[in-house]
Symmetry: C2
Subunit: 549 residues, 2 copies
Amino acid sequence: MTISNYKEIAAQKLAKRDSSFKKEWLIPQDQLPSSSQVKDVLKFPIESGFLTPLEIEITESNALEILANIKSKRWTSFQVASAFGHRATIAHQLVNCLSEVFFDEGLQMAQELDEYYAKTGELKGPLHGLPISLKDNLNIKGHQTTIGFVGFINNPIQFEQDAVLVEMLRSMGAVFYVKTNVPVAMMMPESINHIYGNTVNPFNRDLTCGGSSGGEAALIALKGSPLGVGSDIGGSLRIPSSFQNLFNLKASSGRFPTYGARSGLPGLESVLSVNGPMSTSLDTLELYSKCVVDGEPWLKDGKVVEIPWRQVELPSKLTFAVCFSDGVVKPTPPVTRALKHTIAKLLEQGHEIIEWEPKDHERLANIITEFFLSDGGEYCKKVAKLTGEPFFPYMEMYNTSKELGVSKLWELHAERTSLQKQYLDRWNDTAKKTRSGKPIDGIILPVTPYPTAENGKFKYVGYTSVFNALDYSAGVVPITRADKDLDLKDEDYKPVNDLDKETFNDYDAEKNHGGAVALQIVGRRFQEEKVLKMMKVIAGAVDTEHYWK
Amino acid sequence: MTISNYKEIAAQKLAKRDSSFKKEWLIPQDQLPSSSQVKDVLKFPIESGFLTPLEIEITESNALEILANIKSKRWTSFQVASAFGHRATIAHQLVNCLSEVFFDEGLQMAQELDEYYAKTGELKGPLHGLPISLKDNLNIKGHQTTIGFVGFINNPIQFEQDAVLVEMLRSMGAVFYVKTNVPVAMMMPESINHIYGNTVNPFNRDLTCGGSSGGEAALIALKGSPLGVGSDIGGSLRIPSSFQNLFNLKASSGRFPTYGARSGLPGLESVLSVNGPMSTSLDTLELYSKCVVDGEPWLKDGKVVEIPWRQVELPSKLTFAVCFSDGVVKPTPPVTRALKHTIAKLLEQGHEIIEWEPKDHERLANIITEFFLSDGGEYCKKVAKLTGEPFFPYMEMYNTSKELGVSKLWELHAERTSLQKQYLDRWNDTAKKTRSGKPIDGIILPVTPYPTAENGKFKYVGYTSVFNALDYSAGVVPITRADKDLDLKDEDYKPVNDLDKETFNDYDAEKNHGGAVALQIVGRRFQEEKVLKMMKVIAGAVDTEHYWK
């Protein structure tokens, strides 16, 4: 590929995507809600009258219900794929969430599954007929992976092999039909690029869906998918999950297979990107996680650790540490309200709450940023140069940073190892403070300071990236929505630094109204099973386990 | 510390070590075997008449026997510590294997354990009273860690904290009494430095003990320790274990805790140093490994993976792949004989053997060398400069290499990840060739091309380092000794490259006579339990399970 007009290449790809939709599923432009007038479009798909009652019933079901109904032959896989294809189309028309669209292929996969089931009486696997949407970075054979880079359009024309995870899900009977939009290189907390533009938030279309798994989150919130796979290297699963009030599990690296996913920073190992499930259903997350691990991914991806899926029973009373602010950027009022509400509910249920001192969070978050930039942005610059596409402001640091040098990188590694050890020691030391005499079960804290954000106003990923630096497991639980009447700015607050001040100044109760607010529950490294159970406890306490029903 | 005469600083440290011995345990110089005339000193400690019958009985016992005899009160911990201290002194006089010597502290620990047992009737832990020797890199509170650098003498004066592993072993009742010699920075396959000089091989004192856990291996072979802990980043456990015909387990990184060990390349994470047990007893390895993992090291070291110690039952008939040569350096005749003998014995027992193609071994071994040198030797140069000590020839590459740059490092990481995946796929694909229809259980291959080597003639670590690059688990099993009458040079062999030619030319049946020959059995990542069981099968087949009895 030679340097050319990046806009032209992008426009061709965009046109190709747009031509991939099935005409019968597209809503005529003039019947779509006005983007300037209708901000919250969550209910549009079912209220607009374009979906059949069966399509609504299917798309309002979680993965377990879908699988059960296919097994019982109440629904065919084809009906399910068709319903989600239709609803994904509408979702896309509302928020611009899709990157690769291949409904016919999905319907074909579904039909083959139906035929297989009819013929053999056996399901193909534990995910037989379940549509799964995939973040753009997961390679699927026969499709492209652009991860928001114009330079990756037709480069290659198509991948010849599924990513390991995709291959596993395919063999379990999953149906693929779309990939979803991401920011350039997946290194921005919004989902914008020069190919597809911006994905907006269905809770409030003036706000960003977040990133980098933002197209995925927006699609799932509109129920164009019952289960999506995103990825996270600094918060890329958790931020959009929070901004769309989804359930999400971010595992420690090595729990789920990542081989064959395209990276924006390939070869970076100082911190490893992980992938994980996002859904409106917590049970769906558990089903997915168990299926993937039961599939023995360590036999298929050299980076996966051989830890089987474990049955975890929690005691009836748990001990959580809570962190209201990391001392760098104070969360905005809706987030603080969500946290207070959650803690109150957990206390009501008899759980113990102690305080968590966010020691070293700032340093760990800074170290991880240095890791991201340690090649001096060389790779991103190289790909951008393929077509001459410019850098977005948030990505400008990749354009201007300098190669760190391996010697300095080693120093950062050693420092991180030491901070990791100290963090673990502090975790263990909580045993001295708890009633049970045992260390805390998890830490509850914000996912981000924002109840979603306006485009360009997401400036701080420290609440999530610290746990990538530590490689801890974490879950996201929907709590509430920002409310302009409840979440008033505390005008007396004195910001402690520039970033804190910007966040304080940017918050506008009116503009953020309706934004999603979720919280993060963090477990130690490789505590995925326990994190899921703790998510259930929290969602139960605040009554959001069935938030989406 | 300022630049000074490195020889003077080293001489002071050497004198301090030499003054740490207990006079009553030292053999008068004139009663030691002549180093020019007596090469094999393995039997000297028990034949020389300096050890009491009880000391001999104790030091000829394995860890299980020692623990049982302490528990039954047949022996006290003090008697055991004293016996090993005495024998370690003699061992040292024969081969120069110790770096830090603190017998009185060990005796004190033992006495406290005896008092505890007498008073409470309880053992302190599963290793109550067991002397464990430690490679120099493991920090012990109150002691120095020089790892062969003159610049690390009195820098710091003493460590304030135990390494995590040391702390764990201490809490289980282990007794520490010595640390053992290593090469500078632990990055040479011999054990030589400017402080203590060279550790020689008790099988043949004209030959090297190997490295970097060489002092450890030499001490254990002379039974100055029933169990030692070494470390391995490219073969540093396996090479000296092979050169001393010891049993050894090299785990995948993350199985045993490493926090608080001093590194010669601190912050290097492209490949991680692992530590592991070395012993004349295979049962001792299993006991140690289980104890450490049962101690839940993932709660103490952020890099340890939460995989409990698993009970593994092997089928009665196994399938091994065998690799006679990696295509880079052909093993010398004693190693090939050992391999042929082992395969014949395994076939006799009904195990299946297929061939292993060493695809990508050379590239993986080259990549790992690039990782070692990726900081351009900055760290080693910095430490050497502290005192002006020169580089040994083998280390000269650290003096002359150039900083690789993070961008290039990322490219190497990505390449390694891909090779790792391909290796795993080929492992799985063996299922198509085996009688059982299952993939191979393990790969049997040389540890090194050499049956020990003369100093300066160890030039190729590719047989071991490939498995650090892959992070596979591996064990070393003693097989035989080089025999000048059996292991004649194949004068018709045509070397395939310069290194191969040097190895071919360097081999001298006469000079290598008596050298130890062990083999490597390799399992997939995190297959430590299975590797130990496979070691038992191999040692059983060639009748070396009780080689040291």
